[in-house]
């Protein structure tokens, strides 16, 4: 009996293979987008973890003034019962760019640290000493070819990192002190208090790795939000496809029930069937997701490197957990989509006459429910966004607004359609509007998907566009010098300046040091008084005579993210590392920089801080002279070409990083829109099957099929158009939240909003095209339908 029933159920798919494809594809697509985004996130997180592990997840001891720790101080600590291990941390120039160099002492490193795991197969005698091995991941090894055979590849080491013995690091970085001491989690019973033996040293929570995770959190939240959105949109397809399959098999269900199959068995069989389909679709989806992730990962990696300096391996490594979670999400999605249909089957009366569904009544109560939920959503999101605050609050606000808009969409459409019906004159147009309104419940899920996709597109598009406009304008201000050069060493600086003096209009030192400002890593720059800054520097707010006062050392400038994070405005006083204070004279925009920044006059920088990188300079050169100066620098002075960058290349590089950053968003946007289009198609197909009894009377009363078909096409276009029109304000609201809330929380800068109507026109066209294409096929099928099919409506039970 069960076998026969199952056979009867499954035979449906043999007759309608396309429906099977739709269902599986919809589910696979939804799963793929979700799984792909998750894979990218997981890969990035793994890279951070690797880095965090190597860089030390444990507490460290550092100098409170940011100075290096003398080896004697280290010995004093050890001799007083402190189990600490010295770390030298710096950057080394490789043949293919900088690589972070960690000098470690394998003899004192805590046995629990993964770094020691990385050393497992290394002979200590090869590693120790100033000429010892340099260990890197295979990928990073290619960037250090200038070190020849010293480089040894170690699998599993964090990318972009080189491990070397303490003495080797000291030699490479030309420093004798240590940057920090890693505190062994296991300390002996008694030790002399740090204050007594080394008053300048303090214990600090682990740094950089945690910072990296914190900095990139917002980016990943962003991706996850997109993944979720795509998945939600994908669910609409599944809902449509499952609905279609159930709707068309109604007579089969009824017959089976009449033949004595209990409702429970029937539901069980359907659940088994759905489970199998979900597993198949989930598997396909996860594989697709892998390709999506592999396709997007290079861009994501580039983004993270460009924006945060976080290094990600270019290759995907996927855990079994990821595969399983992909399947789970597919099953969950199917369950969500099929629940209402299953309940209907359970309630199905075997011999009930085939009633056309009570659309109008049901839909009104559903819409009322949706409105109530929408109101709740709105309240929640406003509360989270305005009262709760924070990045998560921002995203809740975003999600809540989107959901509110989606849920309110059917009501809004219904009101608009009712208005149109009122205004319409002829009997056919009256029918058209009434009929369109009646289709709403069946189409509303797909239209919500479309609204979400469109709003996301408009919102993200506006955000990215606004950002790009602001960013390029800002680059023009910020990169005022025509050439930027880096001296090979500090010893060379004097010669370099002497060489440049007669050849340039101005030499602007860009000296800097890294330090901790108000509890977080920051950069402190020194600048000289020069019209370049007065004329170009992108100040957001400032006290009067800001440049005159900076010039005489009366204060500092800070970047916007530092100002927002610490709530500092011009006129406030900030505490600087090294225990002094200065007045903030102005705040400037500093897009793309994850860190806080302070600008001081060069003289203040050099008197207050010792460990300054003095090798960078900006050069003002008249336009026509740029190439000549560059050539003489390389050929006459002998500066390596890679130490000279012109303004245009920095700009194009920055824009490139920027575009790559948002390439992922764009790709996900397009995918989401495609999914929404697909959702409309499946919804229309589902409806088409139920449409015949609604259309047949009209046809019998003398309206030819092609006119009915045209009405169907126009209906889809009108619904898409109205949805688009409604999506525009939603999208703009979304953009505003992204620019004024999310960006501020995630990056610390607020961006002005610009409008891009041309993009909207494209999007409108695209959505009409999607709706048109999606409705074309069902409409054509109607137009060419044999009259017998329509006639049968009147004489047979469906």
């Amino acid at each position: 009996m069960t076998a026969a029933a199952l056979h009867a159920l499954l035979s449906h798919w043999r007759r309608k293979p396309f429906q099977l494809v739709t269902l599986v594809l919809g589910l696979a697509l939804a799963t793929a987008l979700w799984a792909g985004v998750q894979a990218i996130n997981a890969e990035a997180r793994k890279s951070y973890d690797d880095a965090a592990n190597v860089l030390g997840g444990s507490q460290v001891i550092v100098d409170s003034a940011g100075a290096q720790i003398a080896p004697d101080a280290y010995a004093t600590l050890r001799r007083n019962g402190w189990k600490v291990s010295p770390i030298v941390d710096g950057w080394v120039a490789g043949s293919e760019g900088r690589v972070r160099l960690l000098g470690i002492d394998p003899l004192t490193l805590s046995p629990g640290t993964p770094t020691r795991g990385a050393l497992e197969d290394i002979e200590l005698t090869d590693f120790l000493g100033s000429q010892g091995r340099i260990l890197t991941s295979p990928a990073t090894a290619t960037r250090l070819e200038n070190f020849g055979a010293r480089v040894q590849k170690v699998e599993g080491l964090a990318p972009g990192l080189a491990l070397v013995d303490l003495s080797g690091a000291a030699a490479l970085l030309e420093q004798s002190g240590y940057d920090r001491l890693e505190l062994d989690p296991e300390q002996p019973l008694s030790q002399t208090p740090l204050k007594e033996i080394a008053p300048s040293l303090i214990i600090k929570a682990p740094d950089s790795a945690g910072d990296l995770a914190r900095l990139t959190d917002s980016f990943h939240l962003n991706l996850t939000a997109f993944g979720l959105l795509s998945f939600a949109v994908g669910l609409f397809i599944v809902n449509g496809a499952v609905g279609l399959a159930f709707e068309q098999r109604r007579p089969v269900f009824r017959t089976l029930r009449a033949l004595g199959v209990p409702a429970r068995n029937l539901v069980f069989l359907l659940v088994v069937e759905l489970l199998i389909l979900a597993l198949i679709a989930g598997a396909i989806g996860v594989v697709l997701g892998y390709f999506i992730a592999a396709f997007l990962l290079p861009d994501v990696a580039a983004t993270l490197r460009g924006l945060y300096g976080a290094t990600i391996d270019g290759a995907l490594t996927l855990s079994p957990l990821w595969w399983l979670s992909g399947l789970a999400i597919a099953i969950l999605g199917t369950a969500l989509a099929a629940l209402t249909h299953l309940v209907q089957v359970a309630r199905l009366k075997p011999l009930a006459a085939a009633q056309p569904r009570a659309w109008a009544l049901a839909s009104e109560s559903v819409m009322r429910m949706q409105l109530i939920v929408a109101t709740l959503c709105l309240a929640t999101s406003l509360f989270a966004g305005l009262v709760g605050g924070g990045l998560v609050g921002g995203f809740v606000l975003l999600a809540g607004l989107l959901l509110t808009a989606a849920l309110a969409l059917p009501t809004a459409l219904s009101i608009i359609l009712r208005g149109a019906e009122r205004l319409s004159r002829g009997v056919l147009s009256e029918w058209f509007w009434a009929d369109t309104r009646q289709q709403l419940p069946g189409l509303s899920l797909a239209l919500m998907a479309l609204l979400l996709a469109l709003a996301a597109n408009i919102g993200v598009g506006t955000m990215v566009g606004s950002f790009r406009l602001t960013f390029t304008g800002w680059l023009d201000q910020r990169l005022a010098s025509e050439l930027y050069v880096t001296a090979e060493s500090e010893a060379e600086v004097t010669d370099l300046i002497a060489f440049l003096e007669p050849r340039t209009d101005a030499i602007l030192p860009i000296w800097h040091t890294d330090a901790e400002v108000l509890g977080a890593p920051a950069e402190i720059y020194g600048i000289v008084d020069h019209p370049t800054y007065r004329e170009n520097w992108p100040l957001l707010s400032a006290l009067p005579n800001v440049w005159d006062r900076i010039a005489i050392g009366e204060g500092a400038l800070i970047n916007e993210q530092l100002g927002r994070r610490e709530d500092i405005a011009p006129g406030d006083v900030i505490a600087m590392p090294g225990g002094w204070e200065t007045e903030v004279l102005g705040v400037y925009s500093d897009y793309g920089n994850p860190m806080g920044q302070v600008i001081l006059p060069t003289s203040t920088l050099t008197t207050r801080y010792s460990d300054i990188d003095r090798t960078d300079f900006g050069l003002r050169v008249s336009r026509g002279n740029v190439d000549a100066v560059r050539t003489s620098l390389t050929e006459d002075f002998g500066l390596p070409a890679e130490n000279i960058i012109d303004q245009a290349s920095i700009k194009s590089f920055s824009i490139d990083v920027f575009d790559r950053t948002f390439a992922v968003s764009a790709a996900l946007n397009v995918l989401t829109l495609a999914v929404a289009g697909f959702a409309i198609l499946t919804s229309l197909l589902t409806i088409a099957a139920m449409r015949l009894p609604q259309l047949a009377p009209i046809w019998a009363l003398g309206i030819p099929r092609h006119i009915l078909a045209r009405a169907e096409l126009i209906r889809a276009l009108i619904l898409a158009a109205v949805t688009f029109v409604l999506a525009v304000p939603v999208g703009l609201l979304l953009a505003w939240v992204l620019l004024a809330v999310i960006n501020v929380e995630a990056f610390g800068w607020r961006l002005p909003m610009h409008f891009f109507p041309a993009d909207w026109a494209w999007l409108a066209l695209l959505s009409l095209l999607a709706a048109g294409l999606a409705s074309l096929w069902p409409a054509r099928r109607l137009a060419t339908r044999p009259p017998a099919d329509l006639i049968r409506v009147f004489s047979h039970e469906r």
Binding site: A358, A360, A434, L701, S795
Partner: protein, 213 residues
């Protein structure tokens, strides 16, 4: 003659359903068509209404031969001159009863007195309701009202009482006869019921693809 059917034949694949059917119907006349289930009554009605083509023979409605009309022409003929009542799914679910009643009349561009019509059909209470809120008998009354509101020359009804209980069916049948008489339309009505058939002016019986008087 309002309706003239000559030597009509129809096959579905190899099976011949209608095999030289001829009949005629005068203005104001009501004719009942009976026959066993599957004998081809509905098929005949559909061909007369231009919903389905015939394989042979000719149908002439008010002097116009259907074979001379294209799809659009047949649709226009249906719209303007023929009222149809089916066994079920007669009404347009998205429109309310008032809109349904007037639908064909407005399509054909004719005026109709809604309140009189509703009064006559006993539907005055229900005008703003939607079809699915009405009982089967009420729905059939709306269908009849819609068919005659447009004042067609010919009314075709295919087992209009087939889905109704006896009392309701009798009432609907009488309404149809009476309405046709009042508008002067010719009425061809297919029914199972010998009892109902006897109420019409004339009876035809379809058997083995032919009309038997």
């Amino acid at each position: 003659m309002l309706l003239d059917v000559q030597n009509l034949s129809k096959r579905f694949e190899a099976v011949t359903i209608l095999d030289g059917v001829s009949l005629s119907l005068a203005i104001g006349e009501s004719v009942a068509l009976t026959g066993e289930s599957g004998s081809g009554k509905s098929t005949l009605l559909h061909i007369i209404a231009g919903l389905e083509p015939a394989d042979g023979g000719e149908v002439t409605v008010d002097g116009i031969a259907l074979s001379t009309l294209k799809d659009a022409g047949r649709a226009r003929l249906r719209r303007d001159d023929i009222g149809i009542v089916f066994q079920q799914f007669n009404l347009i679910p998205s429109l309310n009863i008032a809109q349904n009643l007037l639908f064909q009349a407005r399509l054909a561009g004719r005026d109709a007195n809604l309140s009189a019509l509703a009064e006559q059909l006993g539907l005055s209470e229900h005008l703003s309701k939607y079809p699915e809120q009405l009982s089967g008998g009420q729905q059939q009354r709306v269908a009849i009202g819609r068919a005659i509101a447009a004042r067609p020359k010919l009314v075709l009804a295919d087992e209009p009482t087939g889905n109704l209980d006896e009392t309701t069916g009798d009432a609907v049948f009488d309404l149809l006869l009476q309405s046709a008489k009042e508008t002067g339309a010719g009425l061809l009505i297919v029914t199972h019921s010998e009892r109902l058939a006897s109420r019409s002016n004339r009876r035809l019986h379809l058997r083995q693809g032919r009309i038997q008087q």
